[in-house]
């Protein structure tokens, strides 16, 4: 029921019913809604309600059914309630266009209603509910103190129907208002108020209904007997008298009515009705069955009454009404005036967008600028000459003051175009835009995040020991596999072996020529050192542990008897000789391998049976692989285009790395095929080394660069390190620790952290750790060779200053 109430209120605008004259607040002209609209039949009203309800809310439909039942069963009550309404004289409230305050009122009232509904819903008796509800309605309206009107088409229709909840109904306490809609001639007659019910129901009673005050209207006409009827025929107006069944009355039709009837009979228009009148749109018809728009029913309408938002609104409106919240209706005054002479910096409103520097304030014009300056401002001839001689920037004014008698005599300003142009140039070239410069306190945050070198310990950081004894540049050094001995080969034609822990030179061998390369056999079982000088490679078993060698060394070094013939056939250029000289033999020199050209580089296979040598002067056949136990030599590449410089064996697989001047080639020794070709971009490779994992290669070149190759990644360098200032002599990986180093003629040894991850997706991490620079330069040569200790984080370096240094 309450919903109905609410709808009544909310639907008002749709009806567009102007309020009744009694409405004090709006004071709008009293225009009864349905006056203009032809009177509806009683039954139509029901449809009307239904339609309106359909339009508004679904739950109302149930209510309508209830109404019908009520009508059927409780006519008496209904009558009574209507009467009550009329007596109390409450009026409908205004339409929605009203002030907010009123709406607030409505809200509050609705709230009360809601409470009542809550109680009523518990009652099962429909009658009672109806009654109570109507009472509440009465209360509500009377509380409001506003007048409402029922604007029904005629008395009967208005009486007939659906009660307070019906849409479009206007309630009015003013009887005049009520009867306004009726014919004035019927003012005095008593009107039956039974509503839209079959009149037959009263057939058994001696009254035909009730008047507006609830008194019975007694039968008069129908009780007449036939004599009376006959007597009535005597009446001259009998022929035009009709019986009104509802009111049980005889009505004499007037001339106008007769005329109307005649017109109907003759199928003519009612006099005074203009069928060809101009049609006008009366606006949305509240009675229209079909909606004019197809908008979906808002979701909100399905929600149960009273969301949090509504409550909040109600609370606020209540507070406003009670005066707890005061709303100031003062609008902010717009400033229409501004400081014309201000520089614009103090304006309260901050400018959006580009911040501009205010223009410098111009000096106000003085007397000099005047067209009629005082005499003392005018320049004399000398001063004019001086003005012309002056640098334009030093002139006090960029014009010569001139005197005119009147403003009219002023010539046109001849520099106008030029000045405009310069002004535009100024604006273009130095716009007064405030540039916000970012002050970067910590520039290091732009650097890539690398771990700190301190966290990457251990690595060699300072010079610890020097091995002194050589008298010329030390070209090559090598550390024994157990990390106890250091072998060095020098330009003073000696090979020396040092005990690392005491820097003691325990062995020294003098040969005929400068030592090119020394290399310990990497197998810890063997005590074998290979060295190359001029065109010879010598295999030494140094007597560092005494003259006797262990069995393994002896076994591999002694010449096998069987294969002597084949060996000679295989190679003509390279010859193996047993050393027969007793003095040399005493010094541990066991085998000499003679080459046609100078052997520059020596490198051992990790198992210690094979070693490879390069002699770049030999050109296309520069690389040789020697098999120590068989005393055999192979020349694997016979047709290489460029002389190969450096070779390396893969640390665990039968893979062989050969570098010529600018390309590193990777060969599979088992399949005897080229696997990869690393394009270094280097002009002259000096040294390469293979990571102990085998998948990464570093290369150093005489053109100062060090390149890191990831074989899985690309044939191009993964990283190029251009830190050396002079030719890079040697690059090496640490056999066990994630360190690599490079040495150069600029006397420095660069130590890097080079972590290779097992995860193939993660690239190697390269962090520069330390620059070691203690060697001295001799003839522009710096550090010639470096070597890592096999286990400790120690690096040994040999330089042109004939020293060998250990950094720990």
């Amino acid at each position: 029921m309450n919903k109905g109430n609410k709808q009544t209120i909310t639907n008002k605008p749709k009806v567009a019913t102007p309020p009744v004259a009694t409405n004090k607040k709006t004071e709008k002209p009293v225009v009864p809604v349905k006056n203009n609209i032809p009177t509806k039949p009683v039954l139509n009203n029901k449809n009307n309600t239904a339609v309106n309800k359909k339009e508004n809310e679904k739950p109302v439909l149930g209510k309508k059914r209830k109404d019908v039942e009520e009508e059927e069963e409780e006519e008496d009550e209904e009558e009574l309630s209507f009467g009550n309404i009329n007596e109390d004289g409450f009026s409908d409230e205004d339409e929605e266009g009203d002030d907010e305050e009123e709406e607030g009122d409505d809200d509050e009232e609705e709230e009360e209603d809601e409470e009542e509904v809550a109680t009523f819903e518990e009652d099962t008796g429909i009658n009672r509910a109806l009654l109570e509800n109507e009472d509440s309605l009465v209360e509500y309206n009377s509380d409001d103190g506003e007048e409402e009107s029922i604007n029904s088409g005629n008395i009967s229709s208005s009486a007939a129907t659906s009660g307070a909840e019906e849409d479009g109904k206007r309630w009015s306490s003013d009887p005049n208002q009520f009867y306004d809609s009726e014919d004035s001639s019927e003012d005095e007659t008593i009107v039956n108020r039974i509503g839209n019910i079959p009149i037959e129901w009263y057939d058994d009673f001696d009254h035909i209904g009730y008047d507006v005050d609830g008194n019975k209207i007694m039968r008069s006409e129908s009780t007449k007997d036939s004599i009376d009827r006959f007597l009535d025929q005597q009446d001259p107006n009998f022929w035009r008298t009709v019986y009104d069944k509802v009111n049980d009355k005889k009505v004499v039709l007037s001339d106008e009515d007769m005329q109307l009837l005649k017109n109907i009979q003759n199928r003519n228009f009612i006099p005074g009705f203009n069928p060809y009148e101009d049609w006008y749109d009366p606006g949305p018809n509240p009675d229209s069955i079909h909606p004019l728009h197809n908008a979906p029913v808002p979701k909100r309408s399905f929600l149960p009454f009273g969301t949090d938002e509504e409550r909040e609104i109600r609370r606020l409106t209540h507070a406003i009404r009670m005066g707890w919240i005061k709303i100031s209706h003062k609008k902010k005054e717009k400033k229409n005036n501004f400081d014309l002479w201000g520089d614009g910096t103090n304006s309260e409103e901050k400018q959006k967008g580009i911040k501009r520097i205010p223009a410098p304030k111009q000096r106000l014009p003085g007397n000099v600028e005047s067209f009629n300056p005082p005499e003392e401002y005018l320049l004399t001839d000398d001063e004019v000459k001086a003005w012309h001689l002056m640098d334009p920037r030093e002139r006090p004014h960029n014009f010569i003051p001139q005197k005119y008698k009147s403003l009219r005599q002023l010539p046109i300003y001849n520099k106008l175009i030029k000045e405009r142009f310069e002004r535009c140039l100024d604006l273009y070239l130095c716009p007064r835009k405030l540039k916000t410069r970012e002050f970067i306190k910590d520039e290091t945050k732009f650097l890539p995040k690398l771990p700190k070198p301190q966290d990457l310990r251990p690595f060699p950081s300072h010079e610890e020991l020097q091995f002194l004894g050589h008298s010329a540049r030390v070209r090559s050094i090598s550390i024994s596999p157990n990390g106890q001995w250091l072998a060095s080969g020098s330009d003073d034609c000696t090979i020396k072996i040092w005990e690392i822990s005491s820097t003691r030179c325990v062995y020294s061998l003098k040969v005929e020529n400068e030592i090119q390369s020394v290399a310990w056999n990497p197998n810890p079982l063997y005590n074998i050192l290979a060295a190359s000088y001029s065109n010879k490679i010598i295999i030494i078993t140094p007597p560092i542990y005494g003259p006797e060698q262990n069995q393994e060394t002896e076994k591999i070094i002694t010449k096998p008897n069987t294969e002597s013939t084949s060996e000679e056939q295989q190679n003509k250029s390279v010859n193996w000789y047993n050393v027969t000289d007793s003095t040399l033999k005493e010094r541990g020199v066991r085998i000499e391998i003679h080459h046609p050209f100078t052997v520059k580089n020596l490198t051992w296979h990790y198992k210690g049976d094979y070693f490879s040598s390069t002699s770049p002067e030999e050109g296309t056949r520069s690389v040789k692989i020697h098999h120590l136990s068989k005393r055999a030599t192979q020349t694997p590449f016979r047709r290489s285009k460029t002389p190969n410089q450096v070779t390396r064996f893969h640390p665990s697989k039968p893979i062989f790395f050969v570098a010529d001047q600018n390309i590193i080639r990777v060969y599979d020794l088992m399949k005897q095929e080229l696997i990869k070709k690393l394009i270094t971009g280097c002009r002259y490779i000096s040294s390469i080394d293979i990571h102990p994992g085998g998948d990464n290669v570093i290369m150093g070149g005489y053109d100062k660069r060090v390149s890191w190759f990831d074989l899985d990644l690309s044939t191009r360098p993964y990283k190029v390190l251009n830190y050396h200032k002079m030719a890079v002599r040697k690059v090496i990986y640490h056999p066990t620790l994630p360190i690599f180093a490079s040495c150069s003629d600029d006397l420095s040894i660069h130590v890097f952290h080079g972590m290779v991850y097992d995860d193939l997706l993660q690239n190697a991490l390269i962090v520069p750790l330390k620059i070691l620079k203690t060697h001295q330069s001799v003839n522009d040569l710096g550090v010639l060779d470096i070597a890592f200790h096999p286990k400790q984080p120690w690096i040994f370096s040999s330089g042109a200053d004939s020293t060998i240094r250990l950094y720990t």
């Binding site: 610890e464 020991l465 157990n482 990390g483 106890q484 005990e499 822990s501 005491s502 820097t503 003691r504 325990v506 007597p543 560092i544 542990y545 005494g546 003259p547 006797e548 262990n550 286990k791 400790q792 720990t808």
Partner: protein, 440 residues
């Protein structure tokens, strides 16, 4: 003297009580007030005053408060150690150790790689010239023995109870150890036996406290125990009772035992070479290796009982039975003092002594001393330490300028009293005995 100063200035004073262990220098233990600005010298004067010494060159003293040496004024020391000036401070004092004044040089043919001074006034030294030499405490060469095929790396006396029949053992780069007999009467060194089993150079050797076994550590990563019970004491007796051991008669003109089997051997994995071994107590021996670990071994089973991980490679280990501490010399210039009884690794290191400029080559506790030790280094210096202070008591640095290295050190007691002198050897090919008495 003190009172005079007090009169001059109004100074804050503390009440101190002097105590000492040495009865010769003991003074009254009644608390006396001394000014707080006094340092070592001032306190020494107080002691002299109390002892009524009138000698001009009376010895200086060193002072300790709660086991810490006073190296600043009393005032700062009290502040730094947050002591209370209200209490009576007990100051322990002892005679200051002064730098040795006299030095004896004993020429070798090559670098002196190892030296060991016994407690009977004799020094044995090993050299890279392949020889071993015995010297008396005055630095006179008694005898030379040869036989090693490569440089001698370590020597150690085997003490006999009656000192009549002396022998010593030497370890060498030629992967062998040799046991030698030193005949005092004939002033002769004769090789008794050669111990061959190592596959790398033998870096270190030590003798068990009961003088029956030898421990050796080698660069091949093994520690081996050898029994010397069956080696005859005299080389003359060797041929007769060599029934158990193989005789090597073919090569050597002089018949010596060849022992090719150690009684116990353990290989330390990943140790990169044992550089030092030490056997001071009967049931426990120590080893130090290149992989930064000090390991403690149970002698009977030769199983590792404990391992101390240090931050650098070991070069030498010394153990003192007096206080049960280990001193280790490292290649990171540091000497570290460990207490092996502490189970917690972090607590085990109780002191680190840092003053050398490069690798420390040897460290040696002073016999019968709880606190004193000497160390040598590649920087050519010998330093004398008290582990209660981080500053060495004195430094012998006459080799520093010549870029020579000191490789080894040991203690020798001359005159059979408690007076010990440092013996050192290095790359200057000289054995140096540093006497700290001035009268001889």
């Amino acid at each position: 003297m003190v009172e005079k100063k007090v009169n001059n200035k109004e100074e804050s004073k503390v009440k101190v009580k002097f105590i000492t262990n040495d009865p010769n220098i003991r003074v009254t233990d009644t608390p006396i007030a001394v000014p707080v600005r006094l340092a070592r010298l001032g306190l020494s004067e107080v002691i002299h005053h109390l002892r009524e010494d009138i000698e001009e060159n009376s010895k200086p003293f060193d002072f300790l408060i709660n086991g810490k040496f006073i190296r600043t004024t009393l005032d700062t020391h009290i502040k730094n150690n947050s002591l209370s000036e209200e209490d009576i401070i007990t100051i322990e004092y002892l005679e200051a150790i002064t730098e040795p004044k006299r030095e004896k040089e004993c020429q070798h043919d090559d670098w002196v790689s190892s030296v060991h001074g016994g407690n009977f006034g004799l020094i044995v030294s090993g050299s890279y010239d392949l020889g071993v030499r015995v010297w008396d405490s005055e630095g006179n060469l008694i005898s030379t023995g040869t036989g090693h095929l490569a440089g001698v790396k370590c020597v150690s006396w085997i003490n006999d109870k009656d000192n009549s029949n002396l022998s010593f053992v030497s370890a060498s780069l030629d992967k062998t150890l040799r046991v030698w007999n030193f005949n005092k009467e004939q002033s002769e060194i004769k090789a008794l036996a050669v111990l061959k089993e190592h596959t790398g150079s033998v870096e270190s050797v030590d003798v068990s406290p009961d003088q029956t076994r030898i421990v050796s550590g080698s660069m091949d990563g093994t520690i081996k125990l050898w029994s010397i019970k069956n080696i005859p004491n005299t080389p003359a007796a060797a041929p007769s009772n060599s029934s158990l051991k193989k005789r090597k008669t073919t090569t050597a003109p002089e018949t010596i035992h060849e022992i090719t089997e150690s009684i116990q051997s353990v290989s330390v994995p990943n140790c990169q070479g044992i550089t030092t071994v030490n056997w001071e107590t009967q049931f426990q021996l120590l080893s130090g290796s290149m992989d930064h670990n000090i390991k403690l071994w149970d002698v009977n089973t030769l199983t590792q009982t404990e391992s101390i991980h240090t931050s650098s490679s070991l070069t030498d280990i010394s153990y003192t039975v007096e206080s049960g501490l280990i001193a280790s010399a490292h290649k990171d210039k540091t000497i570290r003092i460990w207490d092996p009884r502490e189970s917690d690794q972090t607590k085990a290191q109780i002191q680190s002594l840092f003053s050398h400029k490069t690798w420390v080559t040897s460290v040696c506790w002073k016999p019968n001393s709880k606190h004193h030790l000497c160390s040598t280094s590649h920087d050519g210096t010998i330093k004398y330490w008290d582990i209660r202070t981080k500053i060495p008591f004195y430094t012998i640095d006459n080799l520093e300028k010549t870029n020579e290295k000191v490789l080894t050190s040991s203690w020798i007691n001359n005159n059979n009293n408690d007076n010990y002198s440092i013996v050192s050897g290095g790359t200057d090919s000289k054995l140096r005995i540093h006497y700290n008495d001035n009268n001889n």
